[in-house]
Symmetry: C2
Subunit: 316 residues, 2 copies
């Protein structure tokens, strides 16, 4: 059995750990798809970030039974071809939970505590204590999405004694949420939102789900944070909501167009904070991904159930 | 019985609440000490921020039995005179716990997630995802101080799955700390500190307690945050520790000299972050202070035990 990895720069300790733990399996750690490609026809398992896969490569992978995608975004996967060849796909959904939850709390605290103004005053050597400060305890955080990332964010928010409300397709109650609503009942949740945190993936159901009128339901002091996908809401609607004062601030990590063009109006907007799609970036990413792969590989070898199995027909 | 308050801008709803709740008591809400001063000789209880008190005023307050200080810092109180006249003193120790704990987490997340660099790149319209990002989960926070503020900070740190170590005079184990050490054992704690958070008041025991050599015990990636008092450590020692790389970053909210002079070298030091003594500033300060005063007043009228009684001989 050959396990082929196209993940670049896998640390030596991880390689050695796998080779020692799974003595009966052959591992081939390649530096990217260019190096890995020639070995695809013989590989039983392929470990990849997913972006390097296309129809031709799937067709060439005659032996392939399982693709372990070390990513949560599956937008570029050739699922038709994968489905035809009946290849199992698993991903690392949830791997972003910790860094993204820390990002969310970091950013709402930054807005509540006026960090940008303080940084400016520091640059100006200006000691001025008249800086509006808010606390986040006793405020309400509404999360669009109730999956692993939203749950971890809500768990932290609750530690800050915030009230947490989740919005999901099913509206079914989920750990770490004080209340949950269905998407159709979203307006009710928005009215209570001091902070609205979007963690939705891009699917046909979430694309432009959030519309201009939704912002009018929110309190004027509210903060909108999007760390899911940029096509949840039109850029012009965010801009208009912020400029008209329907919301006080928007923190955006994802955009309709990425990279955000240098001349985009968002950059200079006082009440919009931009980060370059890094909420999920973590130095622990590869170790965590291989931890999950290890658990799955053990299950695979015992014919047990794997974690995070993807339905190629749905793409998630 | 006359209760005199020198607290400026007490909201009407608070005044009315007290007048209705304590019908048998006379209240006089004055706008600062200038207005309040003439009534001091007749006052039984004085509500104050404490900074307006001096020997002469205490001597003039012949009837005074209780001073409710709506502050936690008691540095300027004329305790000798207060002790002579056998006046009870209570303060609002712990009132800063929530805003200061949120400040601490906000600032360590800001450093871990490179917020200043991101703000600079935003200003430059520069989309660059190569920003070193750290997570704070699984890191260790050492707190100098184990009182109410340190406990609330440790409680939040624990929600982030950090390990928490407290350092105090007694070294006795306290809620929210995984380990506690005595001051004399501080070096052991410092060696483990990814984050060192100082929350100590200024007393003869804490003045310049932290010395240049202490920083050499800490990991070079560690972050020092001082939100207690500026005389915990000499400015030159902080500067030297940061410049020599003994610690990676210092976040300072308090200073030996406040306001920090405009030409102070700290302002431009890349790995020092300055905030103007605002960790405890909160829009909820006055309501919280009067909440505690109400509890204490009820106890006082029933001859029960009051919260936060200060020993005038010790000053805390």
């Amino acid at each position: 059995m050959l396990i082929l990895s196209a993940i670049k720069r896998v640390p030596d300790d991880i390689r050695e750990h796998f080779e020692q733990t799974f003595g009966e399996v052959e591992f081939l750690f390649c530096h990217g798809i260019e190096e890995a490609e020639e070995h695809l026809p013989k590989a039983d398992v392929f470990v990849t970030y997913g972006e390097d896969l296309n129809k031709e490569r799937i067709r060439a992978a005659k032996q392939l039974k399982w693709i372990m995608v070390l990513s949560a975004g599956m937008d570029r996967m050739p699922f038709n071809e994968i489905d035809k060849q009946d290849i199992l796909v698993t991903n690392v959904r949830g791997i972003h939970a910790k860094p993204m939850a820390e990002y969310a709390l970091s950013m709402i605290l930054q807005v509540a505590r006026n960090a940008k103004m303080l940084t400016q005053r520091e640059r100006d050597h200006k000691w001025d204590r008249r800086v509006p400060m808010k606390e986040i305890n006793n405020r309400t955080m509404v999360l669009l999405g109730t999956g692993a990332i939203a749950q971890e964010t809500a768990r932290l928010a609750r530690a800050f004694q915030m009230k947490t409300i989740g919005v999901s397709r099913s509206g079914k109650s989920t750990e770490c949420f004080d209340e949950t609503y269905k998407v159709e009942e979203m307006d009710q949740a928005l009215e209570a939102a001091d902070y609205l945190v979007a963690v939705l993936p891009s699917t046909s159901g979430t694309r432009y789900l959030l519309k201009r009128e939704h912002f009018t339901k929110m309190p004027s002091h509210s903060v909108f944070l999007n760390m899911g996908r940029g096509d949840l809401v039109k850029s012009e609607d965010i801009l208009d909501a912020v400029r008209s004062g329907d919301v006080a601030h928007a923190v955006l990590d994802v955009f309709e167009e990425e990279p955000l063009p240098e001349d985009h109006v968002f950059w200079d907007e006082e009440n919009i904070t931009i980060t370059p799609h890094l909420s999920g970036i973590s130095p622990h990413y590869v170790p965590r991904g291989f931890d999950l792969f290890e658990r799955n590989l053990k299950a695979y070898l015992k014919d047990d159930k794997l974690e995070n199995v993807i339905d190629p027909k749905r793409g998630y």
